[in-house]
Amino acid sequence: MTINTTPLSESTKNNPDKQNNFVIALAGNPNVGKSTVFNRLTGLKQHTGNWPGKTVIKAEGTFSHRNRHYTLVDLPGTYSLHTSSSDEEVARDFICFSRPDITLVVCDATCLERNLNLVLQILEITSRVVVCVNLLDEAERKGIQVDIAMLARQLGIPAVGTAARSGRGLESLINVLDDMLAGKVAIRPRQLVYDPELERSINKIEKRLAPYLPTWINSRWVALRVLERDFSILEHISNHKNNDFPRQVLKEEVALCLP
């Protein structure tokens, strides 16, 4: 934990607590070292077991870097966001409705393809995503090479390679988070394109829905859910539409945690 000693800028003087606090959600498949990344970043060193389904509740921790206070929320590990299980629902709802400032998706370098499914699904909800390709050490041992720069180009978002168990790459991961919050990173997130017939339906529904949706939600993503007849998402949104409730509460809680 570092203490802020630099002079406050004009904007932060008015609202010192809110301007400098950022919420980072930690998402990823089970057993990719998410909890290790979490522990390494927050310094909260609980032992992390090597089996899927270990994180059953959202864990929260904080750290500071370059004058910014971060709250890291460790979401349960999921393979997708299809809400077929409560874990997936928790992860989806947090990313969608609590709107973290950045969603950090931790991936397993030894089986990147399966992990990318989740990354692409998260990118449909929010473009404020950073990919962390973890377990690089294990991948190297198995003779697997991951071209991180290429991955970043393909996804249109920042990607960082790490080996969290030894702490490798975490420094640059934090710097990337910082750069993204400072607006120094250009993001052009890759959009998933479906077959033409599906695309036409999506566009039609999106056009109709858009006027009723709050601006913070990705209308294309909502259209996709409606297309799947998952109407519960709309009820969720209508409950959230008028008040900025979860984000506000979260920010206030964060403020309380800080010295």
């Binding site: 032992h47 030894t110 393909q154 479906y194 599906l198 339906s201 007849r229 109407f231």
Partner: protein
């Protein structure tokens, strides 16, 4: 799929006609769209020299999860860990006891020197300090050996393999395969085990897992089992094999616990919680080289000291309470003796006695303190003696009529009785139902009474 009854969502009436009717097809197309693109990105980003899952790891998995070797290896590892724990804990345990009871003498002398009243000396030293000293000397060494070893297996990635082996058994019992993981978690702490049942999505199967979690011997009960097993089962044979037999007795109790878990799960899924088990995908994570330093530090700090601290915090007041009960008189007898008298007939039927039952009752806050209360009960009930080793404990217990049958019944009752207070509270919070919580206490208790009754009466008949 939910229907629309929220009036604020009238927009949906507008949209519904636009929707294609074949949703299954649409979901599949959306998913396949995602998969295709993940595949194409991966093809450009990942270069692999050889296929990912070959060689040593695959061979190891084939052995660890093989049909014939899977279970023997599990049993062997469990036995090995417990054997190391039992043999290794003996000496430091005695050393700690000697040190702590030497300190007790010094403290008593100090109290005498400052002319402290007798009740204060009794309450603080014979009541609180002595229970604390017992908790520390009996529990600390086994925990300090057992936890790092268990954590080592966890870190290596062995637990999912165990779940893989056990999946079929749990399915046959009508329960969820992941229940094996929650069961393993219960070996650490039942309250944590109950919370970990959240990884099971179906409410029916989760309830089964919650209700049967107490059949996993938790940290709080391991030291009691290990101590009793060393004292009574170990001395049934010659010195050379005593630790082996003691280990096997503990393994047998654990296996009984697992068998009970399966049996009760099966019973529940046929009666109160009927249904078919849901399917799930269990990923076998890669074997990872454990971080030895981390394991040692974390398992000592997070588990050993945590459990010890909990035991100490609860044992101190419970020790004081026991001392008060044993030293406040109602007419001729003490309150403690009165309660013991009430419970004695039932205890005798179950192969135990009133003091043992009261120890389990007063041990409700935490299983860790059952043994200390037991000792307190016996000591305050008369003969004062120096307890400076496991042998002294053995003599104390023998003096109060213990046989190996008593020890067996206590070990079984330790496995089969109500969960500790923390676990019950956790069960209540997880199920939000007083009735399920009550059942989770009565079910193992009932089983425990029946089993000890049968064992005791059965052996009485055979021995006669």
């Amino acid at each position: 799929m939910s229907t629309i009854n929220n009036p604020g969502l009238s927009v949906l009436q507008e949209i519904e006609p636009l929707l294609p009717t074949n949703t299954a097809n649409i979901k599949d197309r959306i998913v396949s769209g995602i998969y295709q693109q993940a595949e194409s990105i991966s093809a450009q980003v990942v270069k692999s020299k050889n296929s990912q899952y070959t060689g040593l790891e695959a061979r190891l998995d084939n052995i660890l999860t093989s049909r014939w070797l899977g279970f023997p290896i599990m049993l062997l590892l469990l036995t090995l860990i417990l054997w190391i724990t039992i043999t290794g804990a003996n000496y430091p345990s005695q050393l700690l006891a000697t040190g702590l009871f030497w300190l007790e003498e010094q403290l008593t002398a100090l109290f005498l020197a400052v002319n402290a009243p007798a009740w204060l000396t009794g309450l603080l030293i014979q009541g609180m300090y002595r229970s604390l000293a017992w908790v520390v000397s009996v529990m600390l060494p086994p925990m300090a050996i057992f936890f790092p070893l268990f954590t080592l297996l966890e870190d290596l990635g062995y637990l999912p393999r165990v779940a893989f082996n056990m999946d079929k058994l749990f399915c046959r019992a009508g329960a969820h395969g992941k229940q094996c993981l929650t069961m393993c978690m219960g070996f650490g702490c039942n309250a944590a085990g109950v919370i970990s049942c959240r990884i099971i999505d179906s409410p029916r199967e989760r309830l089964i897992a919650i209700l049967t979690n107490t059949f996993s011997i938790c940290n709080g009960r391991f030291p009691t089992l290990i101590a009793l097993s060393t004292i009574f089962m170990g001395t049934l044979v010659s010195q050379a094999y005593s630790s082996v037999l003691a280990t096997l007795a503990v393994v047998a109790i654990i296996m009984t616990g697992i068998a009970t878990t399966l049996l009760v799960s099966s019973l529940l899924s046929r009666t109160l919680l009927r249904g078919i088990p849901s399917f799930f995908v269990l990923e076998l994570p890669p074997f990872r080289r454990p971080q030895l330093g981390q394991i040692l530090i974390r398992s000592l700090l997070d588990r050993t000291l945590f459990v010890l601290w909990r035991a100490v915090v609860i044992a101190a007041p419970a020790g004081a309470l026991t001392w008060i009960l044993a030293n406040s008189f109602l007419g001729e007898t003490t309150v403690f003796a009165l309660i013991v008298g009430w419970l004695n007939p039932l205890g005798q039927l179950m192969g135990m006695d009133g003091v043992i039952l009261i120890a389990f009752l007063l041990g409700l806050p935490a299983n860790e303190i059952v043994l200390p209360i037991l000792i307190m009960g016996y000591i305050s009930a008369g003969s004062m003696l120096e307890l400076d080793s496991l042998n002294a404990l053995r003599i104390l217990l023998l003096d109060h009529g213990w046989t190996w049958i008593t020890a067996l019944c206590v070990m079984l009752f330790s496995l089969l009785h109500f969960p500790c207070g923390t676990t019950l509270y956790t069960i209540f919070k997880e199920t939000r139902s007083a009735r399920w919580t009550l059942l989770s206490a009565l079910l193992p208790l009932g089983l425990g009474i029946v089993v000890t009754l049968l064992i005791n009466q059965g052996t009485q008949i055979i021995m006669r």
